[in-house]
Amino acid sequence: MRNPLNNKIVGIKPSGIRKFFDVVSEMKDAISLGVGEPDFETPWHIREEGIYSLEKGKTHYSSNAGIKELRVEICRYLKRRFDLDYDPLKETLVTIGGSEAIDMALRVMLEEGDEVILPQPSYVSYEPCVIMAGGKPVIVELKEEDEFKLTKQELLDAITDKTKILILPFPNNPTGSVMSREELADIVDVIIEKDIFVISDEIYAELTYGEKHVSIASFPGMKERTVVINGFSKAYAMTGWRLGYAVGPEVIIKQILKLHQFAIMCAPSTSQYAAIEALRNGDPDVEMMCEAYDGRRRFLLHEFRRMGLSCFEARGAFYVFPCIKSLGMTSEEFATKLLMEEKVAVVPGTAFGDCGEGFLRISYAYSIENLKKALERIERFVRAHKH
């Protein structure tokens, strides 16, 4: 029999998180600090709107790009929060989570062999999506001493004649790093001068602590070369609804819409109706969740530092990224031993790129009681293994 599979797909290595998941799920009564989604449930008024749409029999396909009302609300929201101007009819597309938008954007923009600059540690999907789209990932290893931000020099060093896209993953999963207006301004000049495009994954935009998120698309000259990815999963605790969106130049969005229409048809209607409510009346929910995350974030940073682990001040998403190099273990050893000895699940930094070695991703999408319990165990573990 012939090989039924495509070798490019077979060659993609499975997600490092998946591997760990299999170990963890064997372990009953483990405390997990390993999830990448909010602990809050979707606010009831948003869920209720989804239920109401079902009651009214709104169970049909929507237009391919998404319900017009939703697209209008998305554009109003982006203007209100991040000072971005997009046309709801021509420059906005509702997708199945941010993930679809990332995949589709890469597929419509890349030619075989084009290079994509990919800062790591970062979300697990970018690299395989680049490869599947025929691109060549060029990894930039972000450093703890730069607080895991992308510097101008790092960007310049990575650019070649073949560079087409920069993926900009801030606020960052797994490090919690954010980039300020000044830091973005630094790399904007390079991007424009070298004529490259940006896919800016801003799914955690609402979850910043301190300064408000700044979108790179809000800089002069950047809107026409940036696709902004965002969605409802993190801000409104709607991960299971699978709803995101892409906004960008009409030429690009038009092609993504074509792919989306053939592959997906449209995002789920129920989720779209719920999302309209989220954008119209969800600001207080976001604020409440953000305040709760911020308190937990401070608590974790304080506790890790008290234990003697260095931990840079993450100001975004819901992760801290402590360094465990002083214990002389690899990330994976630490995570596995911690799970076996203390029954706490954390994700090794290496799941997000080789340069995550020596770090752990700790999620604070848990109640403070839960975090306290887990931290006591981690402290005991660290004490036992310190030389």
């Binding site: 998180i17 963890v24 989604e37 308190g295 608590f299 403070i368 009681e369």
Partner: protein, 160 residues
């Protein structure tokens, strides 16, 4: 800052002032001063524990009584409300708008005890015109907390 403290301890009053200080990025002294001030101002009125008495074997019964009263000259409803809330059995008293004047929530050991309270103590008061007693059958949610909550963390234990 006071409001931030309140939003946290409203849900969990067991956190220490040190933990609160870490979470709110201020000193322990500041937290303690703010809490002390709020205690004096009666913004924080106490630190009771929310108990689901139904889970214990000894039965407790909660009743909500709608009370109509004649307000008294010079004191309105306050005087009669005070006479009512001084009883230990009375857990809550609200002055209401609408069809009746006071909501009185009482807790007793048995229906007989509650009935005795209403007929012997409450109804005979001069200012009280009428009462209507409703017994609570099941508590679903109290003080923002769902009582019979057996929901678990539905999330996958690790995810990207």
């Amino acid at each position: 800052m006071k409001e931030k403290i309140l939003r946290i301890i409203e849900k969990n009053s067991k956190l220490t002032s040190e933990e609160l200080a870490i979470m709110l990025d201020c000193s322990r002294e500041e937290v303690e001063a703010a809490i002390a001030e709020m205690e004096i101002d009666k913004i924080i009125c106490g630190y009771p524990t929310l108990i689901d008495w139904d889970k214990l074997s000894g039965e407790k019964l909660t009743a909500l009584i709608e009370v109509k009263v004649t307000p008294q000259r010079g004191q309105g409803f306050d005087r009669i409300a005070e006479r009512i809330f001084k009883f230990d059995e009375v857990e809550t008293v609200y002055l209401m708008s609408g069809g009746f004047d006071l909501t009185v929530i009482i807790r007793g050991k048995s229906m007989r005890e509650v009935a005795g309270f209403v007929s012997e103590k409450l109804a005979p008061m001069e200012a009280i015109l009428s009462t209507a007693t409703h017994f609570v059958l099941k508590k679903y949610k109290e003080n923002g907390i769902v009582m019979q909550n057996d929901e678990q963390d539905e999330r996958m234990i690790v995810s990207p």
